[in-house]
Amino acid sequence: MAAVCAASRVLGRKIVSSKALPVVWQTSNRKLHFSVYGKGGDAKVSDAISTQYPVVDHEFDAVVVGAGGAGLRAAFGLSEAGFNTACVTKLFPTRSHTVAAQGGINAALGNMEEDDWRWHFYDTVKGSDWLGDQDAIHYMTEQAPAAVVELENFGMPFSRTEEGRIYQRAFGGQSLKFGKGGQAHRCCCVADRTGHSLLHTLYGRSLRYDTSYFVEYFALDLLMEDGECKGVIALCMEDGSIHRFRAKNTVIATGGYGRTYFSCTSAHTSTGDGNAMVTRAGLPCQDLEFVQFHPTGIYGAGCLITEGCRGEGGILINSEGERFMERYAPNAKDLASRDVVSRSMTIELREGRYNILNLYYNINLLFCAQNTVITHKDGEDTVVPGLYACGESGCASVHGANRLGANSLLDLVVFGRACALTIAETDTPGEKLSPLKPNAGEASVANMDKIRFANGSTRTSEIRLNIYSFQQSIVWNTDLVETLELQNLMLNGVQTIVSAEARTESRGAHAREDFKDRVDEYDYSKSLQGQVKKPFEQHWRKHTLSYVDPKTGKVTLEYRPVIDNSLNAEECAAIPPAIRSY
């Protein structure tokens, strides 16, 4: 296995064996035998069979994993373009975590004051601490007004101004005139339930199209062959059957992994399943160390107070009654970007003047550039054919080191739609599928089987103290699904830890006590004249790519440069790095 990997590196391609066992699985010599009922020799084998997993094969043009904001938008975008689409989700669409978003969607509509998407572009690039890929940010901010208008046409009930235009509120990190014109009001909202409205609007809209929804199907793994993604294998929770969805295009929109932390505001279902699937397929995840801590989360309760409160005039005060943000961010004050506010709060806390923080959102998860999952070999980005990612699981290049509030709902709709458009450009509906090995997905089923019959002394929940064997049926086995989710969380967690430890600087949401400064290729706090550019290995303005070795659980890190040029330099000039202050 190691030799094969070494050889493939030399050839410049990553070859992934469909027999590779994932990291948190111990080596198992349980071989599963694949057969089609009624074809060849079943009668002879039947006496010796102890367990059988029926596998239903489906064929589609495209399959979307996840039915949150990004997943729904991608799924019905693809159906609209004529593709035969399946949407596989472990939750009913309206229960995805998008529903919990409160703040709003940023778009430079200019309803409250004069606005320009290039100012939004500047704010997002600055907010990402210059770790965001500027071409992706250009795309997102330029498409933002059109995306919001499209949502409004779908029937999303935005709050309105007196003239009847969409109401936009102030939000963290948004400014006018490239930071010089004061606070911008560009966050379009629906009272304090924007995510809820968004998800229900998208769901209602999706019913007009003929996407096939597979609800309460837990996606186990990607079906990879020869470095190409050929579909997904999933477990139907209702009746325990396995389903293989073969498709030329797979879109991952599975959301984040907040549940790796004890105190978080994510749903119990935010377990990073998509990231883990990609990791087990041998592909890298990008920038997992940038986990965002929301300034106004409530420790222990697992919920948060929306940034919209601060947008509508709320202020943060410490135990001495002082509006402490004035000291840390003189211009933006409480509406500075989230990582700045969180850091300020930490300092106040340390100095004994405040209460505890809480985790909010994961940024920079799946590696992607304009939605395609790539590997980076020998200094070049190469695309993994057939695989795309959008939403929180694919947001890496846009938010960089820190996500600005209200940019994430925007990210969902813009890149969900972009995924559908990209697939429509590169493919035609009804294309014949490339052949797949008959036993594709065997390793996933073997793993699931091993977990199902596991008889260790520690329970998944680790809360119940009695030791009795839990129900081992395959139907509605929520313990089994929780254990699979735990496997996924562990994969995400280990990558986050190792990436965070390796990054010896503080940037955006990644803050370190021992390395407090940002380390770029130049020192931007001084004039660039006479400075020598640091080589790639010596500075940190680069994306982390983390891989996990299936056999040992070891995490390897590689790095990829940030894309500093925008899509079109004439329309929108790229922003050179600078010191970040609000």
Partner: protein, 83 residues
């Protein structure tokens, strides 16, 4: 000979629909037969269980009828491998 009850008729009708739908797709018919045969052992009086399986069967039938469903295979684990 006792006539079939309404529920029995529904189950039989479901069985027929399944067989019809599974004609062109390899691997389904033996499995359908097995499932119905096993479930036939359920007591006639255990109506809740029967109705649950009937509803589940209807959902599975819809899936089977869908043009994108292609075949049924299985991954089996032999007894020697179980530790």
């Amino acid at each position: 000979m006792a006539r079939h009850s309404k529920l029995q008729k529904q189950v039989l009708s479901l069985y027929r629909q399944f067989l019809r739908a599974a004609q062109d797709k390899p691997g389904f018919i033996p499995r359908i037969r097995d499932e119905f045969r096993v479930s036939a052992a359920i007591k006639k009086t255990d109506v809740m269980h029967i109705e649950y399986l009937y509803r589940r069967g209807q959902r599975q039938l819809e899936l089977l009828k869908d043009v994108n469903t292609k075949q049924l295979g299985s991954f089996s684990k032999s007894k020697e491998d179980s530790s």
